[in-house]
Homo-oligomer: 136 residues x 2
Amino acid sequence: MVVYKPSSRDRLEEADIDRIFQALADATRRDILRQSMLREQSVSELARNYSMSFAAVQKHVAVLERALLVTKERRGREQIVHSNPAALRRAARLLDAYEALWRDRIDRLGDLLSEPGTEAPRPDTPGNDTRKDTQQ
Amino acid sequence: MVVYKPSSRDRLEEADIDRIFQALADATRRDILRQSMLREQSVSELARNYSMSFAAVQKHVAVLERALLVTKERRGREQIVHSNPAALRRAARLLDAYEALWRDRIDRLGDLLSEPGTEAPRPDTPGNDTRKDTQQ
DNA sequence: CTTATATACAACCATTTGGTTGTAGGTTAG
DNA sequence: CTAACCTACAACCAAATGGTTGTATATAAG
């Protein structure tokens, strides 16, 4: 009944995660990230790859930066973008955690199913449903 | 110079990925996803957990659904939300691919460093486009 | 039958997003 | 020094987001 009452520390965390996924939710930004993982480049160098204004790419880089997926380092008159794989790994692990969560549920369902005589696929047992949900 | 010219098939893929990350970029939606992984619930049942209107939660579920992270199944007067871990796994693997990409680069740098006398970490190798494109 | 519940959906609103152009300042090249 | 280049940043705009309320409809419960 409680649920979704993140501690003040978690709240910050959640906002971080928001920024990471939001940054990844744009194909141009994902490409910029990929490019800067392949080779560290200046913003304008990156910008040449896309059919949009320099300022637009600059903004995309800023979004990636805010999500800590990249950092910028001044080098003379240009700003070099380098990727920060730590944040990426964090996101990947987060998704793994979700998957693990689901696997746990399946395991529990497996336990239920292994109980003898419990065949009904849709009992009105208050202990909830027995769906397999192996979809896709 | 080319770059970012996704094939028409990739373009669809990219849009799918957009939707997945965008769906994950909101703490409430991530929580809804978690909830429905723990136990399949109706929309209104889910909605009771949050301090926002039913309609808002309904919209959040719709976003998750559009990203194929969950599906809905009518059961009597209520709509049961169940999670679809396949999409989640896809996203996790995508992030893994990015990481791998970065690891490749590090490996290449390692190679450079192991070459005697080659200290410069910033070679201006013009033969660029060493794209691996291990995406997805 | 009547009422309560679960959903669907439209209309509206404020804020954010993703893009543009324009201006200005710092840095390098000739 | 001057010109070209790279970046920063403001102002503006259309569209998408995340929320609201209100209305309608189908199903379940009494």
